[in-house]
């Protein structure tokens, strides 16, 4: 990565530059206020009592003894919820606190506010709950046919996608059943926030989240309050990756603050965090691929079953992605895909980086390798042969009108010659510090995978972002409710503003529901396009206002003026004025930005449901000790379609970081659920890649083909790195071991059979 600019130049950072993060200095100084760092005078601490059972009837709930403890200010249950009893991102079906039944282990049952977290813990322990345990529904395969565990039924959504000829057979057919385990987002900053009761009867909530306005809608509904009386401000977010798209402690905090009339802070422990947010849907997938003798895909049949857990969350959107992108970025004339996501008593699942597409990529890429083997064609060649191009149709019948450099990402990734220096240190072998692997036994594997996903919200959703640009005295202030979760939108907002207004100083106002309309969710790789688009539009309007003002005041033509380096200049050099002087009287624009409309899927899963698509390929090299079942991911190479590169340094961060989450899913990350109970709710037992686990990620190519209709031609880049990375790593392990390995994460016992071990 020697071509990346890493100096901190003093000149202004515009579009295309590796601008530094505006929050970089407070973050390295330790002064950046994360939501868990908040403090308020007379603040109380909140806590949550959770169900130890995945399915049970609540026979008795007695908080009397907890209330008697010195230092306890209030204990609240479902009876105290002032408004709607349930909430949800797409569909309100999740209780604020359980009433008669609990449907997953960890479901909130009661909440407490007290003077000190230790008193909170004692109070929670003093609450008496009598449960009548029920047999939990834990097998998603049976969910459709057994008794409903929720009034809304056991099927969240079913999609029967039928495209083209439903009967046609290929000369060659390959079949497989694949599984993906439940992954946790494992952001580092725990769920946390501070609620402050307002003197006006409203409430102020400072919280880490991905979508302030969707939170406000749900919180207000559960509090029985008007939306304008619930004021939510983004507090520093320690990562999100989808897990903060749903509510967690939001309503609880507000209820405690309003009941006690005191500010209340709550911070989840890591164990509680594993129970307190949704996970990536575990998947079971069956595929049958048909191809002709030359390797051209003829038809794909698939059934994708996702376990949605106890409540809906974003399951509907996840299964739509899983169905629409089930067969990967290939030209496939005929398809029959059944996608179904069901309710169980397992932990609720929802958004995680690349949702729906991550699971199916593992399946369709394994199938492409099987097809290559069956036809004796090179795996790269068969992918190139079938690669989607602009003008091709998706399985939904939608024609891709934007850029689709699928062949380019595959080819550049496959051809890249790594510069990584192999280490001869035994520490680099599988097993690492254990130094247990024998170099003689190591088997190396290498494989490629490619994946894709939609950008932004699909299926006719009214997807928009809002922004305000205020220019005064040469200083631009941008107000946008886009949740900065670490991805670097704040950097980009400054770059866009500098680019358009030619000013150096760009202030970012806090993201809050009070000052600006919704920015939509920081998810679905959408904020660069959507909130980037809103900031661009707001700045363009202010720019035009300024040029018109100057044209009127100084008798120059608007078309002759440019804004650059803090000045407004006429192209012929006759006129110039400093922007700070020209904007002593402020200018302001308040805008909403929408992407091109999308449409719902019809009963055959057909329709122009998506706006745009982004593609990436990964090539993985792994070392395996087949006797010990140990795997070391040696290297990853990636190429990605970005539309246009807006900030090279931040883009690399997304490509490397997303790949790390893909490596994790491939070889180590799984929320282990037994009879509905999470068995590894800690960083001791749920492992995410450390610096020793993570290989170098070499970027073979960043493909820049500007996307029509996208602000600056740029596509979102956050999710593609997490899609094909998992598939590439597991394929490389298959190469090294000659095992089928139909499930991720690949476990030691998948490589070494138990019989061999004993």
């Amino acid at each position: 990565m020697s071509d990346v600019k890493t100096d901190t130049p003093t000149s202004s950072f515009r579009i295309g530059d590796s601008a530094p993060r505006p929050d970089g200095i407070p973050k390295v100084k330790g002064t950046f206020a994360f939501s868990s760092d908040l403090w308020h005078e007379k603040m109380l601490w909140g806590g949550t009592l959770r169900s130890p059972h995945p399915a049970a009837r609540i026979r008795k709930l007695d908080v009397t003894e907890a209330l008697l403890i010195d230092g306890v200010h209030t204990v609240l249950t479902h009876e105290d919820v002032p408004g709607e009893a349930v909430y949800g991102l797409e569909h309100a079906d999740q209780p604020v606190m359980a009433a008669e039944v609990v449907r997953y282990e960890g479901e909130p049952v009661a909440i407490v506010a007290a003077d000190h977290p230790e008193i909170v813990r004692r109070a929670l322990a003093a609450i008496k709950v009598e449960y009548e345990e029920m047999v939990p529904l834990t097998d998603p395969e049976t969910a459709e046919s057994v008794d409903h565990i929720h009034p809304d039924g056991n099927v969240f959504r079913k999609i029967n996608l039928r495209h083209g000829d439903q009967e046609i057979q290929g000369d060659v057919q390959v079949e497989g059943i694949y599984e993906v385990g439940m992954q946790d987002q494992a952001f580092l900053g725990p769920e946390s926030g501070l609620a402050v009761p307002g003197e006006d009867g409203g409430v102020d909530l400072y919280v880490s989240t991905q979508w302030l306005h969707a939170d406000r809608r749900q919180v207000a509904s559960c509090l029985g309050m008007r939306e304008e009386d619930v004021r939510i401000t983004l507090a520093g977010v320690g990562g999100a990756f989808g897990a903060r798209e749903d509510l967690s402690l939001h309503v609880h905090l507000c209820m405690l603050a309003m009941r006690t009339n005191r500010p209340v802070k709550m911070v989840y422990s890591r164990e509680e965090s594993f129970h307190g947010h949704v996970h990536r849907h575990p998947a079971k997938m069956w595929y049958r691929h048909h191809a002709d003798r030359e390797g051209n895909l003829v038809r794909v049949e698939a059934r994708v079953l996702l376990d949605g857990g106890a409540y809906a969350s974003s399951s509907g959107a996840v299964i739509a992605n899983a169905a629409c992108f089930a067969a990967g970025p290939y030209r496939i004339p005929n398809a029959n895909i059944e996608g179904i996501v069901v309710r169980t008593n397992n932990p609720p699942c929802g958004a995680m980086r690349g949702f729906g597409a991550v699971q199916t990529c593992m399946g369709h890429e394994a199938q492409m390798d099987k097809l290559a083997t069956a036809l004796n064609i090179d795996p790269v060649e068969i992918r190139l042969k079938n690669a989607l191009r602009t003008g091709d149709q998706l399985l939904t019948g939608q024609t891709i009108t934007g850029t689709a450099p699928v062949a380019e990402v595959i080819r550049t990734c496959a051809e890249h010659i790594p510069s990584y220096q192999e280490s001869s240190d035994l520490m680099s072998l599988p097993g690492g510090a254990g130094r247990t692997a024998d170099p003689e036994h190591i088997s190396r594997g290498e494989a490629i995978a490619v994946g894709f996903k939609n950008l932004m919200f699909s299926e006719g959703f009214d997807d928009f972002s809002s922004a305000v640009c205020h220019l005064e005295g040469g200083v631009a202030t941008i107000t946008c409710a886009c949740a900065e979760v670490g991805q670097g939108f704040v950097t980009l907002a400054q770059q866009i503003t500098r680019e358009i207004l030619g000013v150096e100083e760009v202030v970012l106002a806090p993201a809050a529901t009070e000052t600006v309309g919704s920015a939509g969710s920081t998810s679905a790789s959408r904020q660069t396009w959507m909130s980037g688009g809103a900031v661009q539009k707001a700045c363009e309007e202010v720019r035009l206002q300024l040029l018109q003002r100057l044209a009127e005041e100084h008798k120059v033509s608007v078309d002759d003026l440019v804004l650059v380096e803090g000045q407004a200049l006429s192209l012929n050099g006759d006129f110039s004025i400093n922007i700070d002087e020209a904007t002593e009287n402020p200018l302001e624009a308040r805008v909403e930005y929408r992407h091109a409309p999308t449409f719902p899927l019809d009963e055959n899963g057909q329709g122009d449901a998506h706006v745009s698509f982004a593609f990436a390929a990964h090539r993985a090299v792994v070392d395996v000790d087949p006797e010990l079942g140990l795997v070391k991911v040696v290297e990853l190479v990636t190429s990605q379609d970005v539309g246009r590169l807006l900030n090279p340094l931040q883009a690399i961060g997304q490509l490397e970081g997303g790949a790390a989450q893909g490596v994790g899913l491939a070889v180590m990350e799984e929320v282990l659920v037994a009879e509905g109970n999470i068995r590894n709710a800690s960083f001791t037992d749920y492992l995410i890649p450390t610096a020793l686990d993570m290989p170098p990620v070499e970027i073979a190519a960043i493909i820049e083909q500007p996307e029509p209709g996208a602000p600056f031609g740029a596509k979102g880049i956050g999710e593609p790195p997490s899609i094909s990375s998992t598939a590439a790593v597991v394929a490389a392990i298959r190469e090294a071991t000659n095992l089928e390995l139909p499930r991720v994460p690949v476990r030691l016992t998948d490589i070494v059979s138990i019989e061999e071990m004993s």
């Binding site: 890493t6 200095i25 390295v28 868990s36 000190h116 580092l188 340094l649 690399i652 961060g653 993570m694």
Partner: protein, 162 residues
């Protein structure tokens, strides 16, 4: 609750800790009683390194240290790595290399890396990986962090990359 107080030396200054509970961790006391929120609370079980601080010459997970056991020792937190308005070479390198995303792991990593470079001014890739393997980062995949360490190490050696 105790009416006694004890004294902790944090970043070169003595701080009195009053009315504390016996079981409070050093992390808790730093963050909630003494106003040093830089050390973070990502797991509070000694696995993630986000709470890393220095006690004397040792980097520890402050969530696993009883606050009362850290008396009469020099505690250094992220807030003590550079003076107000200044950045240490490692802090600057983190910004320049793009090693910061959400920033939650950043303080712990900086404390760990500052200590590493004090002991070894030319750590190779594997040495750095091992040194920071107790500090989890979920955003970056570590690539830019490793780059930042090499930038900082080079600047300490007078600007030469090895």
């Amino acid at each position: 609750m105790s009416n006694d107080f004890y004294t902790l030396n944090v970043n070169g200054e003595d701080h009195q800790v009053a009315d504390s509970w016996a079981g409070e961790s050093l992390l808790w006391v730093l963050r909630e009683r003494l106003g040093f929120p830089g050390a973070k609370n990502a797991c509070e079980e000694g696995e993630c390194g986000s709470c890393s601080v220095r006690i004397g010459e040792e980097v520890v997970c402050s969530c696993l240290v009883l606050a009362g056991s850290a008396i009469e020792q020099e505690i250094t937190t992220i807030e003590g790595l550079s003076a107000e308005g200044e950045l240490s070479d490692v802090q600057q390198a983190f910004i320049d290399a793009g090693a910061v995303q959400c920033g939650f792991c950043t303080p712990g990593l900086l404390v760990t890396i500052d200590h590493l470079l004090e002991e070894n001014e030319s750590p190779d890739d594997l040495t750095v990986r091992e040194a920071i393997s107790g500090n989890l980062c979920r955003c970056t995949g570590y690539g830019r962090i490793l780059e930042a360490v090499q930038i900082a190490a080079a600047s300490r050696r007078g600007g030469k990359r090895e």
